[in-house]
């Protein structure tokens, strides 16, 4: 029986939709607000030990000797593990690109500051840290590999000798006749850009409690894990266990944003548990560990970009050269951040051809991790600066230049040169609303007055695409296999009509359990409170990836509605039997099964469930009497990538326009955001209050990346940003008030027309803020080509322009 999942809100079987699409208060909140939600570090297991990890202080060194006997002898210490144990009991981790993974504890050589070299399990974390100090270790420091351009030279020492090169990937992707487009273009604009490392920084760091059962040879891992199923598969591979012997229990996350990482130290805790005869071992990453060696850092990029523009001011070609410093290995899958731009390479613009020269380079820095947006935010930062450079040169208003180049609304579904297909949109309407909301004309008048007074006032208009509902096929170019990302849900109705929905992911902050409740409650016509959402461990859950790639809202909607549809189908047969009619005569609406026009022919969901479970004598023959169904949703129509990486990958394309006004203090280089307006279109909003929250949070992270946040290494690859005194997360006082509006163009391809929207504004915010800064600096001839635009950098740019010797910012100076 084919399952029909409603394509829009009117397709739900209710005449009075009470929850889906409405601003619904989150069911997660009361427990969170009272401190009752059980996060990982709140869990205490009997006989549990605590782990601390000894980490390399050198970015590159040989380990000359390592002696843990004194540590082992300390009271309270139950186990100590080193690289030897890792080699005896585990395999190198999987990675992207393939083959760039290592053991969880260093062998003869360390490759980054913070690399685990030994670990202790003890009665308390403090005692474990004490024992680390008793470990005797001698290093012979080696010259670190710091600069990716140096690293690519043949004479460079190697991060990993076995690989024979520091280039993890070196390929050019060409989509269309790019050379011809550039040859024919009357205008070609070129510029270099630098995006410095930023990262997720969820307020809860990563952690895991690992139990190695020596009798059954089963491994149980509890952790604040974003994709539990994949995490479990990874552990099975690392420890050579059958996949059904690894059970992962994901605990609620204190934020995630892609940057939870933590596989190495999880594996270390597993080794410690094995050595401690199966006692549970808790590892909680502390903040300095997170900043130095966790899943904290992403996007260390050097760009060279060219834009071809024809005589009508239409962009006819885009070339992007990217050197991405991925750090010391590929284990955190940061490489996929360089692949994801394929899903939206040309942004919201109808640029017919493009090329991507991609070099992923290994250095002795922390391996690059995913972070919200997964790579397009820097890509759109450079694309949007190029759009402004072209507009400024051609003396066209930047908003109008964008309008001229937008994909028109009647062109959807629209296939971009890098292969992905955008589902729907109305970019001009979004732009118009944004310009109106921000009072763009008024801002330009203010700017004219400010400039006349010698003040640096700038307005930025930027637009970007948020690819939503990720697909593995988008990452084929960095070695990831597969097409489709299944997400399942099991809906169960008990004998009294109460509903529970079993899912495979932990709570993370996007209100997904509320969404599941909204869907089931509107579908079956009951109260939200009648729906219970039950997260399952990986050995019990239906196939699930969980949150990530702006997918879960869409995917879980498909899964829940699919399961609801299956139950309806089953119940319809039961009801038809009872009412002595054919199933096609039965209509389900507002929680009741009935026959239209037949008075009294009506049964509630609870009555049907009760009948199924307690009156087998009334059931049709051969029916499975359980009012339960599982549906596993995966996006339809996804394709296998071709040799140039082209595929239908991300299912949805949300779009937004941000208008930002800034003023720069030329004396201090400080940028003040005076106005911030956002209009976005992410299709149907399943819980508008949650969508708004995602947007607001994402703008703040984007402002962090644009102005404040940066992981800094010195010339010897020593990290300088190892505390929150150094890595500057914006506080309330750095974030402007947002003006918001929305356009709704439902996706024709998704359940209820929703588009992925969880990553959201960070795709556009850094671009928009830098557009505004460049606009402010333009009268001086100063150019902002690097993020974050710190006061020191901005001041430098102004000085350089004043000196008349400004050079492109591409050398990674930290100011």
């Amino acid at each position: 029986m084919a399952i029909e999942i409603p394509k829009n809100l009117d397709g739900l079987p209710t005449s009075q939709r009470r929850f889906v699409g409405r601003r619904v208060r989150r069911r997660e909140d009361p427990a969170l607000l009272t401190g009752r939600t059980e996060f990982l570090d709140d869990i205490k297991l009997p006989r549990m030990l605590h782990c601390a990890v000894l980490r390399s202080p050198f970015p590159r060194a040989r380990i000359e000797s390592l002696d843990v006997t004194a540590a082992e002898a300390l009271p309270g210490v139950e186990a100590v593990v080193t690289g030897e144990d890792a080699r005896r009991w585990s395999h190198p981790a999987a990675s992207s690109p393939d083959g760039w993974g290592g053991h969880c504890l260093a062998g003869d050589e360390v490759r980054l500051v913070g690399e685990p070299v030994a670990a202790v399990a003890a009665q308390s974390r403090a005692a474990a840290e004490d024992a680390l100090e008793a470990i005797e270790i001698e290093y012979e420091p080696l010259d670190p590999i710091v600069d990716p351009f140096e690293a690519m030279k043949p004479e460079s020492p190697l991060v990993d000798e076995a690989k024979g090169t520091n280039k993890m990937l070196d390929r050019v992707f060409t989509w269309g006749d790019v050379d011809a487009a550039f040859d024919a273009a009357p205008h070609v604009f070129r510029e270099s850009f630098r995006w410095n490392r930023v990262g997720a920084n969820p307020t809860e760091t990563f952690g895991a409690i690992c139990e190695w059962d020596p009798m059954s040879l089963e491994l149980t891992v509890r952790g604040s894990i974003q994709s539990a199923s994949h995490f479990g598969l990874g552990r099975a591979a690392v420890f050579g266990l059958p996949s059904n012997k690894v059970n992962v229990i994901a605990t609620p996350h204190g934020g995630s944003f892609g940057g939870r990482g933590g596989t190495r130290c999880t594996d270390v805790a597993c080794l410690l548990s094995r050595k401690a005869e199966g006692r549970p071992v808790k590892w909680i990453e502390d903040r300095m560990e997170y900043l130095t060696a966790g899943g904290s850092q992403a996007w260390d990029r050097h760009y060279e970009v060219e834009l071809a523009v024809d005589a009508d001011a239409k962009v006819t070609g885009l070339r992007v050269k990217l050197v991405d410093d991925l750090g010391a290995n590929g284990e955190p899958y940061g490489a996929i951040c360089a692949a994801k731009p394929l899903a939206a390479f040309t942004g919201p613009y109808a640029i017919p051809v493009a090329a991507y020269d991609l070099k992923l380079v290994a250095t002795n820095k922390l391996p690059s991790s995913p972070y919200r947006g997964m790579g397009p935010p820097p890509h759109f930062f450079v694309l949007e600066q190029m759009m402004d450079i072209a507009a400024r040169s051609l003396a066209i208003d930047p908003a109008e230049f964008r309008r001229k180049n937008f994909i028109p609304k009647d062109a959807f579904p629209y296939t971009i040169p890098s292969g992905n297909e955008y589902d729907s949109g109305d970019y001009e309407q979004v732009l118009d609303r944004a310009l109106e909301l921000a009072d763009y004309a008024g801002l330009r008048r203010q700017q004219a007055e400010a400039r006349a007074a010698g003040r640096l006032f700038g307005v930025g208009v930027a637009s970007a695409i948020e690819p939503g509902v990720f697909d593995w096929n988008a990452y084929a170019i960095v070695g990831l296999p597969g097409t489709g990302v299944p997400e399942g849900a099991t809906v169960n109705i008990d004998i009294l009509g109460m509903i529970s929905v079993r899912v495979g992911f932990a709570m993370e902050g996007q209100g997904q359990y509320t969404l599941v409740s909204q869907l089931a409650a509107d579908y079956f016509g009951c109260e939200l409170e009648a729906v219970r959402v039950v997260p399952m461990d990986t050995q019990s859950a239906p196939p699930s990836f969980g949150p990530g790639g702006s997918r879960l809202g869409v995917a879980i909607t498909g899964a829940v509605l699919g399961a609801c549809e299956k139950i309806r189908g089953k119940m319809t047969r039961v009801v038809a039997g009872l009412m002595q009619t054919e199933p096609e005569n039965i209509v389900f609406r507002d929680g009741k099964f009935g026959i239209p026009g037949v008075e009294g022919a009506s049964m509630s969901v609870a009555e049907v469930a009760g009948t199924m479970l307690a009156r087998s004598d009334l059931l049709p023959p051969d029916i499975d009497p359980r009012p339960e169904a599982t549906h596993v949703w995966t996006a339809a129509g996804r394709t296998e990538p071709d040799a140039q990486g082209r595929a239908k990958s991300y299912l949805t394309a949300a779009q937004s326009v941000h208008v930002v006004a800034v003023e720069i203090d030329p004396e201090t280089g400080q940028t003040e955001i005076l106005r911030y307006a956002v209009v976005d279109d992410c299709g149907t909003r399943l819980n508008p209050v949650v969508v708004q929250g995602q947007l607001e949070g994402s703008v703040a992270q984007g402002i962090g990346a644009a102005l404040y946040e940066e992981y800094v290494y010195d010339d010897d690859a020593q990290p300088l940003t190892t505390t929150y005194m150094d890595y500057l997360i914006p506080t309330v006082n750095e974030i402007p008030e947002l003006l918001r509006d929305e356009v709704v163009t439902p996706s024709p391809f998704t359940p209820l027309g929703a588009k992925g929207c969880g990553e959201g504004a960070i795709h556009t915010t850094p671009a928009a803020v830098l557009c505004a800064i460049n606009d402010a600096l333009a009268p001086l001839g100063a150019r902002a080509r690097e993020v974050p635009a710190t006061p020191n950098r901005v001041w430098n740019w102004i000085q350089e322009a004043g000196d008349g010797n400004q050079t492109p910012q591409g050398e990674g100076s930290n100011g």
């Binding site: 208060r25 989150r26 997660e28 909140d29 009361p30 969170l32 607000l33 009272t34 401190g35 009752r36 939600t37 059980e38 996060f39 570090d41 709140d42 300390l74 009271p75 309270g76 403090a126 004490d130 997720a200 920084n201 969820p202 307020t203 809860e204 760091t205 609620p252 996350h253 204190g254 934020g255 995630s256 944003f257 502390d286 903040r287 300095m288 709570m507 993370e508 902050g509 996007q510 209100g511 209050v689 949650v690 708004q692 929250g693 607001e696 949070g697 994402s698 703008v699 703040a700 992270q701 505390t723 929150y724 005194m725 997360i729 506080t731 309330v732 006082n733 974030i735 008030e737 947002l738």
Partner: protein
């Protein structure tokens, strides 16, 4: 090396409590590990993020920058003490729920405790005072917009409304 553990006696959320702490044990670790009050979270352990904020003798402090032994004899209020025993949320908690002032909720107890002090101290705080307090708490999810709305709403509920002049 078996460090001495010292008895610490205090009152938490209106009830007497006691436990043992090494001198080096922070107040937040003591509350969480010794008293099993895990609603207060740990975020950075160097005083910046504010997740571990609790009220000690009425003032909001970093639980990671105070030793448990320093709190001997003190009156502590944690997030577990905000709602009524019958489960009714404090108006501040209620406002956070209403205004989507939390997403993952991990930082929320710290925000609540810092704001709880403000409510007691300043029935009608200026926007600047609100921002001064909120500026000491990091949230990575909300972008603070929902939190600001929640604070406005909470003060309104509590019978006063903060002035809306543009602040810091």
């Amino acid at each position: 090396m078996s460090p001495t553990r010292i008895p610490v006696r205090l009152r938490v959320n209106g009830r007497p409590a006691e436990g043992l702490a090494e001198p080096r044990t922070s107040l937040v670790d003591f509350l969480r590990d010794e008293l099993d009050l895990t609603g207060t979270h740990v975020g950075c352990e160097h005083g910046v993020c504010g997740l571990c904020t609790v009220r000690v003798d009425g003032v909001a402090v970093r639980g990671c920058l105070m030793l448990a032994v320093q709190a001997d004899g003190a009156e502590i209020l944690t997030v577990e003490g905000l709602a009524s025993p019958d489960g009714k949320l404090h108006p501040l908690q209620e406002a956070f729920a209403e205004e989507h002032g939390l997403q993952c909720g991990f930082c929320t107890p710290g925000f609540l405790m810092a704001l709880h002090e403000l409510i007691d101290d300043e029935p009608n705080p200026s926007e600047e005072q609100i921002r001064d307090v909120l500026g000491g708490q990091l949230c990575r999810c909300t972008g603070y917009a929902g939190i600001l709305r929640a604070v406005q709403s909470a003060f309104a509920k509590l019978g006063a409304s903060p002035s809306t002049e543009s602040g810091a």
